[in-house]
Symmetry: C2
Subunit: 348 residues, 2 copies
Amino acid sequence: MNAYYSQDAHGPFRLIDIGRLELAEGGVLENCPLAVATHGQLNAARDNAILVTTWYSGTSKIMEQVFIGPGRALDPTRYFIVVVNQIGSGLSVSPHNAPGALAGPNFPKVRIGDDVRAQHRLLTEHFGIQRLALVTGGSMGAQQTYEWAVRYPEMVARAAPIAGTACNTEHDFLFTELLMEAITTDPGFRDGHYASSEGVAAGLKRHAKLWTLMGWSTEFFRCGRHHALGFDSMQAFVDGFMTGYFAPMDPNNLLCMAWKWQRGDVSLHAGHDKAAALGRIRAKTYVMPITTDMFFPPSDCQAEQQLIPNSELRPISSLDGHLTLFGTDANAITQIDACLNELLATSA
Amino acid sequence: MNAYYSQDAHGPFRLIDIGRLELAEGGVLENCPLAVATHGQLNAARDNAILVTTWYSGTSKIMEQVFIGPGRALDPTRYFIVVVNQIGSGLSVSPHNAPGALAGPNFPKVRIGDDVRAQHRLLTEHFGIQRLALVTGGSMGAQQTYEWAVRYPEMVARAAPIAGTACNTEHDFLFTELLMEAITTDPGFRDGHYASSEGVAAGLKRHAKLWTLMGWSTEFFRCGRHHALGFDSMQAFVDGFMTGYFAPMDPNNLLCMAWKWQRGDVSLHAGHDKAAALGRIRAKTYVMPITTDMFFPPSDCQAEQQLIPNSELRPISSLDGHLTLFGTDANAITQIDACLNELLATSA
């Protein structure tokens, strides 16, 4: 097993098996253990629950570290905050920890909708929650947030998709394809039958370089933000920060998430009619792109926001591009907190 | 030999050998044939010469097709326009056509400054030109334009670097590194000892995908500009347009140019002092970034423009990103023409 995905590194989380999950693409997970981290208490009215979803390569740990805490918008003294690690994340059921016939490259294809159906069962059946005060998440977490708001409109009072889209773009699909190819073209990948992540180190490094290219912004590097983070050159930043971050992860896990990411698309609920699908949303929605995001740019997010009935565009200003989500820009995190606070204060 | 680099495909051009060229990195080209296309006539005062430089993968042909013509800013009825294909372009001396010991992967490392020194010798010794009314070029052509203006300040009356920088950024260096790795990680590349470009087709296709990711813009695809160009999907655009464009090119030629591109940096003329180097420029300079350029963004270009004494920032507005240079957006080409006309009308 891969020690990266341990309680020591990413806990505390609980594994809650929501049972048999039939997948949109035809596969079946006979058991579907979800790694769940909770903060705070569900109140008697059961109306203070917040669902937090996770992004590509992210886990409940970074959500806890960057976004959750007393005095924050996601305040465990006020809300019951449920962070659900996505399928393929390495904490919930994933290629690297799946049993027998489903292990590694044989893991079935999973869609954003499968995650959201699994989370729905978890919240309703395990926690007895019928309405969510808020669903929020960044990047692939935003994809899940949109999927929630369209699939279960009566259950979502408020939605805050951050740095992500409801219907993935062709441009973003291509970026993800390049991420996947960086891994799969490494001879050490061996069609997913590698012995360990170290065997795919070269592919994971190219994958990390692609993230460096697109994940931050040109302004980030021009202004020396990587220096401010403690690296004296691009090379040191790629090696020490970005490659260091991705190197221990399981390649098949990353590919499972990337395939899912490419196909995030709520328009599937309305025969590919994006306007009809987004028109179903009943949640008060703050669409929160990051100003310098190179692959979920504000213009793409705004085009979707204009199709959501009770929504506002709330751009988060930062030089740190998409990976502002990592919490590297304290001012941007303050802006996100302020938006979420304002959203949570609206009646719904 | 590779038929792509023929007179049929890219002519007419003349090969003019400027003789022995010692290179900044220590190599030597005993002969340095430059592929030169000229338009119009040098006048008696020898003061109507314009130098046009070429970009990565581009040749004199696209400059002729997109930027030069009667009634255009680059008007052969008024100016003597000299288009010099860069070293490594495949038309001038390049890995794929170099003799014997310098062929293919053994071709020496070439710098932007080497090109500019070679062009200087061509213009002064072959054409008897002592002063240029204008130097202009896009992308790597902009790098050469800046190098000219800093290296030979008294010789350049006007300069118009389009969609490029004087000192390459760390972010852009990384993009180019990924372009190079897309080629070199193809097992068919064989350290440069491939039999033909077809043997490196997979690497050239990934290289084309990276260009698709960064070369246009997210807005380009959101607005369906690829559809307007005749392709009904991203896949068709990648296969039919982008891969079709790069597939016949010689991988070692592309790597020669990419290595040079990464290291374009006029600050080397002033001990890495960018302000001092750009402060030497005497040309009236229009810095012309493209608004949606993802790797030579306006902000990077503006930061340099502010260091150039007699300069103006003239952004070209287009959705087509860096590859606006291909001439896909007629309105943008009209803007470029207008800027160049205005610049040429200034006294110098």
